[in-house]
Amino acid sequence: MNNSSTQIPENLLISSTMVFFLIHSMQVGVGILGFEKYIASEAGYNAWISIIITGAGLHLILWIIYRILEAVDGDIVSVHTFVYGKYIGGGMNFLFSLYYLLLCVTILRTFIEVIQTWIFPQLPVWLFGLIFILLIYYYVEGGFRVITGACVAGVILGLPLLLFKLYPIQYGNVSNVYPIVDHSILELLASAKGSIFGFLGIGLLFVYYPFIKNKNDSKKWAHFGVFYTIITYLVTAIVAFIYYSEEQIHQIIWATISLWKIINVSFIERFEYIGISLWVFVVIPNLCLCLWAASRVTKRIFHIKQRYVLWIYSIILYVAIFFLEDRRAIDRLNNFTSEVGLYFLMYIPVLYLLVVIIKKVRNRHEA
């Protein structure tokens, strides 16, 4: 079943521990800066329960992804070729590639918007887009191991910001998260759907799986990564729910950043500037990983050099962010990406079933 092109030379592999960072850093990015409003709009302050529901679902999906990849022993391209054959499979792969690129566009444009509204309203998108894309290109050019390094750096640099979550609690009302459930299961699920954007990064495992040295050992690290993500989101949401009143949170676009505003340290009046600046290190690995995955899938379909794909995709990325001018467009893009991402996650169990069935059928034929 081994596809020769999924065999990666040993010196390009990563150790299984790194999967923790890859999974976690891809899930904590721009989504976490403003997801509170979306989850609270459906389930109010019961929305923390939906995060736990989402978390359970994610662990399940992660388990399925590993089952699929183990069964085929390759990446998403091998899986799709195995299931659908060369042409339909190729089409599906190309869709996946575009999906990763869409993620990249969404993250980049949303983060530029954050910088525009919070720090430099006059900032031209072309300038910042250019700086960012050159930087990302530089990383991706360095290969997967460099991107993994960026992920590790991103997770570690983001850590101190988590500590500052303790500060706003003293201004809030802890009983806001009193465990009384007054929303229906449907509302909780709708709210879970609202939080999905942040968790989409899990799907990239489909692309970098062949790069993991000890694949079996990496499972536990991947689950740790998801678990840590859920804890991070849970703490973030609970702190926001304590700090804002339920009707107030609907007014706030980036609840996590607004929360930094109350932090009062003697050497800087506006802590959110530090937060947003540090967040660049958190967002960069996201962008790199997405762009790398998008270009790698395309490379594997058409058997062309990854660098050429990277050039084309970088240009598409650059052009795409120009067409998203205002808050409404960016909000729509985020909703669209979440929607697509949700279908993508729902597709994974279907894919698993297909793999299992086809494997059975072929085994019978061979027997």
Partner: protein
């Protein structure tokens, strides 16, 4: 991996490109320290900005500049003030914002949006209502050594730890938007050449409807939060006795069923005798504890009754019901609120009597 020199030079170039944005350095901006808004007529408000200007000589003094302007919205005032200023106005350092009481009685909400929308404005900004004209208050000079803005901020900070509930922009917005709570703000007054904290005012959503004097604010703080500071003097059998608060705790409990809730507020105060006038060593601690317990019970109960009569909920009883019982209906609650039984159980313990017996 091959390195492309053109690519690298582009990358380096981007770092220089960042200089293309307009810079905002402190010397080139008029940093507003305190702002005051007063109602002029039905439509227009007058805004006054206090801008400290640092004198560049060896004295290092601060000159205070006041710029006033009239407009219908805060941004309009902002623009008109800029038309009188040589430097662009920046709100990043604003520490306190005052509203005249006329404006607070009419509708404060029209001037709040600006405060929550502008990313420059912090959340620890203090808000306050002024008896009479807010402009006069910030135009006063209260200290020879401190600039007025700093003086006002420290006056607020000092009193917040002791006598008035913790209050800032975030707290105000929290209560303003909440269905189960009404906002409240400290109340200031200019008296001759001094400014003072005169009390506390309460809003019904966006309109100021009720106020208490400064002497009652301590009781309000006891009901609002746990803290360790401040003092309360009372009269006890021809003596004046003062109790220093060294740790108070307040807990809200709901008894009764969903349709007939009943609030029990448990308030525990640990204190230290600060003063007995005239000096009397024979007063038993137990008796004093009883006297303070009676005082706090009476005053807290009365305060809550006043809130209920005015149908305002600055303590957030609605929030408590909402969080504990769920399925909260703000309109029904508003109807029910004035008749909800609220009981305050106070316990006072006097732990120390200072260093004199």
């Amino acid at each position: 991996m091959k390195h492309n020199p053109l690519f690298h030079s582009l990358l380096v170039l981007t770092f220089f490109l960042t200089g293309c944005l307009p810079h905002k350095s402190i010397e080139d901006a008029a940093l507003v320290d305190v702002a005051a808004f007063d109602l002029i007529d039905e439509e227009k408000i007058k805004g006054t900005m206090l801008i400290p200007q640092f004198i560049q000589d060896e004295t290092g003094g601060v000159e205070e500049k006041h710029i006033s302007s009239v407009g219908e919205s805060v941004q309009e005032i902002y623009r008109n003030v800029e038309s009188k200023s040589s430097k662009p106005l920046r709100m990043g350092k604003v520490s306190m914002i005052f509203f005249g009481d006329e404006l607070a009685k009419k509708d404060i909400s029209r001037y709040i949006d600006f405060l929550q929308r502008d990313p420059d404005i912090g959340r620890e900004v203090y808000l306050g209502v002024v008896a009479g004209n807010a402009e006069d208050l910030i135009k006063g000079k209260y200290s020879k050594t401190e600039p007025t803005g700093e003086y006002i901020e420290q006056l607020m900070e000092q009193n917040t730890t002791k006598y008035i509930p913790t209050q800032n922009l975030q707290k105000f917005l929290y209560a303003y938007y909440s269905d189960g709570m009404d906002p409240s703000l400290p109340y200031f007054q200019k008296e001759g050449k001094e400014m003072k904290l005169a009390g506390y005012v309460f809003f019904d959503k966006n309109k100021m409807v009720y106020s208490i004097p400064f002497s009652e604010a301590f009781v309000l703080k006891l009901l609002s939060q746990d803290f360790k500071n401040g003092l309360q003097p009372i009269e006890y059998k021809d003596h004046q006795v003062a109790l220093e608060n060294i740790g108070s705790k307040v807990k809200y409990r709901i008894k009764g069923d969903k349709n007939n809730p009943e609030f029990h507020i448990n308030l525990k105060v640990n204190g230290m005798v600060g003063e007995i006038v005239p000096a009397n060593r024979k007063i038993a601690t137990k008796e004093l504890e009883k006297a303070f317990k009676d005082y706090f019970t009476e005053h807290t109960t009365q305060l809550i009754q006043e809130f209920q009569e005015n149908n305002i909920d600055p303590l957030g009883l609605g929030e408590v019901i909402k969080n504990r019982h769920g399925n909260f209906d703000p309109e029904k609650w508003k109807e029910k609120y004035p008749n909800i039984p609220v009981k305050v159980n106070v316990s006072v313990r006097i732990l120390e009597k200072g260093i004199a017996g």
